[in-house]
Symmetry: C2
Subunit: 624 residues, 2 copies
Amino acid sequence: MAVALTILIDQHDPRPRRALSVAPGTTILKSAHEAGIDVTATCGGRGRCTSCRVKYVAGTIPPPTIADEVQLGDDLVREGYRLACQCPVTDAVTVQLAPPLEEAGFQILGVEGQGARRAAITIDSGVVKQVVKVELPREEHHQTSDLEQLLAAVGLPAESAGAGLLGSLPAALREDGGTVTVTTFAGHILAVERGDTALMKFGLAVDIGTTSVVTSLHELESGEQLAAVSSLNPQAVFGGDLMSRIAFAQFNPTNLRKLHTRILGLLNQHVEQVCREAGVLPKWIFKVVVVGNTCMHHLLLGIDPSYVGLAPYAPVMRHAITLPAHQLHLKTAPEARVCLLPLVAGFVGADAVAVALATRIRDTPRLRVAVDIGTNGEVLLGSSERLWACSAPAGPALEGAQIRHGMRAARGAIDRVAVDDDLRLHTIGETPPLGLCGSGLIDLIAGLLDARVIDATGLIQVEERQALPAALRDRVSMRGEERLVVIARAGEQGAPRELVLTQDDVRQVQLAKGAIASGIAMLVHVAGVPLERIEELMLAGGFGNYVSIESAVRIGLVPALPRERIRYVGNAAALGAQLALLSEAERARAETIAAGIEHVSLAAHPDFEQIFVDAMNFPARSPR
Amino acid sequence: MAVALTILIDQHDPRPRRALSVAPGTTILKSAHEAGIDVTATCGGRGRCTSCRVKYVAGTIPPPTIADEVQLGDDLVREGYRLACQCPVTDAVTVQLAPPLEEAGFQILGVEGQGARRAAITIDSGVVKQVVKVELPREEHHQTSDLEQLLAAVGLPAESAGAGLLGSLPAALREDGGTVTVTTFAGHILAVERGDTALMKFGLAVDIGTTSVVTSLHELESGEQLAAVSSLNPQAVFGGDLMSRIAFAQFNPTNLRKLHTRILGLLNQHVEQVCREAGVLPKWIFKVVVVGNTCMHHLLLGIDPSYVGLAPYAPVMRHAITLPAHQLHLKTAPEARVCLLPLVAGFVGADAVAVALATRIRDTPRLRVAVDIGTNGEVLLGSSERLWACSAPAGPALEGAQIRHGMRAARGAIDRVAVDDDLRLHTIGETPPLGLCGSGLIDLIAGLLDARVIDATGLIQVEERQALPAALRDRVSMRGEERLVVIARAGEQGAPRELVLTQDDVRQVQLAKGAIASGIAMLVHVAGVPLERIEELMLAGGFGNYVSIESAVRIGLVPALPRERIRYVGNAAALGAQLALLSEAERARAETIAAGIEHVSLAAHPDFEQIFVDAMNFPARSPR
């Protein structure tokens, strides 16, 4: 028996609609495609992007899938947005196709916390495209030039045109009888293209982490994300954490150049990938916003980070800087502007500023904490009154690196684990398990703590395993000198090889969570407020699409606040970069925020050592 | 019998002096060196530079040698300057060692014409070096960065520091305990060097001609020229004159790139050569001023000149532009500023503006003409009231190119010729003759006209040669279809091969002088003034170190004004570039001048054709 599905085709006009009759259980995407309705599905209908989103306007809204929650976020889900690729049609419904994000307002995390509406930002990327008809020089006695005629048409002074622009100007002016599209940003002409290309206006938001680099491509008028790509930072082969990477470059210009060119090379790969995926030409990318920690920032610019790694760990520069893409050999429009958000200190960088921007931590008098989990984590604590920040060098464990069978949050990664009388694994893509990503690792250790496979000091309880349920017991063993837990035997759930959690892996997680937890503890200490006064703790980071708050609390990564006060906010640094990309007001705001952040140096603080030692152990019992 | 030679050692203080007793006839340079007095002789005492200049302060001043005249110029010679390497001591004299050029004022051509004193310019290159002690970041809680500490020390905002500068900043700041030399120009920091390098401040003046490129290196505090180099423009292999070079690049990006990289490559060779010669490191070059015609300007910037070669011959841009050296891959200080003077029209470029600047043509109400002889010649006519300019496409003949035995004004070039009953040749360096340079060519044709070897139509009088003196007669002949005059037989004056002047060579000179002469005639016509009202005609150009005014008048290159109204002013375009290098006021003045020049398009003028035809013939009889 068929079900009625009505699709509103036009984003702005409810009139054009198609009434379909579909087999129950067919997804909206499949139904639409079969009816010849063109619905974009950038990820191929795998729930990995937002391009096929629909909004329910009539009928029962189905419960959100995990992909809905991850891709669209709580707020959009609450408003009736769903991914067409994830929604089977079961009842008669009417959906609006691809409601643009600008109408809904661009997502900003938690201005008023959970349950409140998102604040909308006004999209104003600063990149302006103007189609003008230029009066070409026509007679010899008229003293003018191509550029002067162009400037007259757009009303800009000669200083606005860089030399790089002039090479192709004469041809561009003449190929379409003088009709050109002039792209400007902050008083600079970025490009002159023949004909009308006003719609072609894109930008990149880039988050360069110590371990992962995430790039998203956006249409600059609507803000819509057209594609995103994430890769391992290729500098990691020269040192997994910041200090080892700085040591590699220290007083060694050749190694510095290696790190510099590696990251530039990766960014160019990202440009190519996102452009190919979205069908956008790289020359139409006119603005790039980059965030990253101080060391990543310096290496991107080719700045010697040697002294960032030596007390007093001073950065070489801190101000927001904008430079033409060709200066970084970035293969976007050559005159595209690359904007780097400002830094705060040697180990509190533009990524922390971006987190502060995205979480709106300064917008409310309520005391909140934002924790950006990463190889070089950062902790922010504050409100509209004051804002403190410190770095928390967690190492790459929570990103699945330097863990025996760790891996990035990619297909096949164990991203969720439940422990009862045995281990229950969930993998990304529900394929055979290949390794553990950060969220799976946290879940696993939390579960093993509850099951007493690991004790509060972190020791794997090989000697006491007899007390465990049989299935669990069989997973705990001593091989040579090494204590370990077998997560999956070869062949189990289709695993191509045995996967284990070693004692050393547990120690890595302890170090990581200890760093983060002591960062939080230090800021609470410096701010002089009791922990209970923290009204919200926002957990951010790129360690998987998902992290269980319960598990994070269980292992002591974050303090045992009431559950409703803790929220996972996704990759807030990347989101901050996107905000600065799509809004010049937001980019300006980043500078104000950076100037107001008070840096707390952990190592220089006399109470730090005790706090860190205290934070290394796991909480004695489950607070659940 | 020894002669007394007193040398004043200090440039600023007449007290430190050395009294020598030297053998008569010894040069001052040799005498000084033998007495252990350190006199700079950059060219090795060959009369090729000005570094060993002295000024006679007592005793009889010897008559100037040719080297004195060529290197020091009429004005300095008149003031008692001589080259120490050229002056034998014959009477008791006192000389001042190396009087700096800044005291004498930097040479400017003819503000008040011949006989008047040179006007001095105030040297102010805009490049400022400051030695500062930077307070390095010392403790972790102090929120600052290397750059902020530097900026605080020099009192500049963050925008003044380009990203390129930051790479080596931390090391520079720390290598000498925070003492650094900061170089600035127009609000930009160009370099931060460790320690005190305040004295190391140099600049280049570059004149890019269609055929020749001349680069001079200057110390920016005194203005002193330390080295100069001149080369054939390597683009010439792709087309000798502007139109053929534009045709080569027209709508052909590969060829455009060839022309672009050729000139950049040559400039880098010049940087290396002048730096080596003067013992200066390229990284100490902080300002470069470039002049050249519109096409050379565009090719240097990589701008497509296709439409400069098509009616209405509009340039792509005309405004003065300043860009960092690294953008042109110029191997000076990477952040050195390259300043290109403004353009006027498609065929009246920055070289014409530089000529107007150097000749001070706008500074007086007297009506004057400046003729810049070159492959693409320019004529300026005007006064403080109005200033007209036109281009005169002379072709490269007067630079010795596209002439059978033509050559540049280098060692072995015949630079002067007298004709009586035979030819009398003078060569540069007084070595065996290798070919004819521009000045020799003009002399030769003038002499042959007077001797009636060539008639007013330019025809070599092979049939009438019996009327000539025997020696001359034997030089005139018909070989096959070709009329020619043998300038030197193989072995004559040591010539390694026979040198001839062909009928075609004469035609090339006729075309060249016709272009120049009709340019002058057109401007006189447009200005509506009788020729007699022209109070001074300044002949400029790089066609040899010397040109005979009489010969230039004889062949009709310039009109037959009274001899004292015509003056050879040397390479005025290069001098204009030097003025803009050494003085920001002069560089600003170039913009005012350019804006005030009224361009006269020859080809578009209805009367041009008749004027050009009239100008092709040689004047019927010698006006002497």
